[in-house]
């Protein structure tokens, strides 16, 4: 891991296309501004890992046949759930 120290308003270049700027520091929180090309996902690391795990999990499970999953979904599909988080 490359370790750099920056003050407020200073930046770091990642390659030619990504700029990370320290916008402010408040207590133990650092506010970062990030410029990156369209298409580059900028994600909090824990969210990235969560997505990565979920993608791997969706591809790599011992599963019953798709037909039985479809049946289970069809059995349930009469009751559409509300999914909005609290």
């Amino acid at each position: 891991m490359l370790v750099l120290s920056r003050k407020c308003e200073q930046s770091v270049m990642l390659g030619d296309d990504i700029v990370v700027t320290v916008l402010g520091v408040e207590g133990d929180r650092v506010k970062l501004g990030i410029h990156a090309p369209r298409g580059v996902n900028i994600l909090r690391h824990e969210i990235y890992r969560q997505l990565q795990d979920a993608n791997a999990g969706a591809a790599n499970h011992s599963r019953p046949s798709v037909q039985s999953i479809a049946d289970a979904l069809r059995g349930r599909s009469g009751q559409k759930a509300q999914v909005s988080p609290a």
Binding site: L51, A54, A58, N60, V66, I69, L73, P85
Partner: protein, 145 residues
Amino acid sequence: MQMTETRAELVPAAAAADQIITFPNGLVGCESWRHFVLMTEQEEDLAVGVLECLDQPETRLMVTNPKLLFADYSVSLNDSERQLLDMPEGVEPVIYCTLSITSEGWLTANLLGPLVINPETRVAKQIVLADSGYSTRHPVVRVGA
């Protein structure tokens, strides 16, 4: 995405190269998974399909249309995402969510990272609804382990 054949097994929804769904940046954390074909069953009310990865044939993602399951699930694209997918306002994407099965036998849906597909070009992206509060493992139904 159209369905073909009348067998109970999964068959390719379309075999032609122009039916390949392409994720230019892969999936989140899985950058090499870029080209997929949709395998579906011959059923009128598609509940579940499988996205088979052409770059890694062992990789097959179970997917569903989340709007069939969740009345108020909504995915809106920002301008940057619309430009990336070449979809102006008024063109609506096809949305799939991947499905997983927990060790306790629950089928779960990844509502946090839906797959968004331009239905005309079949260019796609996994977007992350980071501030939505949605989960990557939203329970759907028990299916047994």
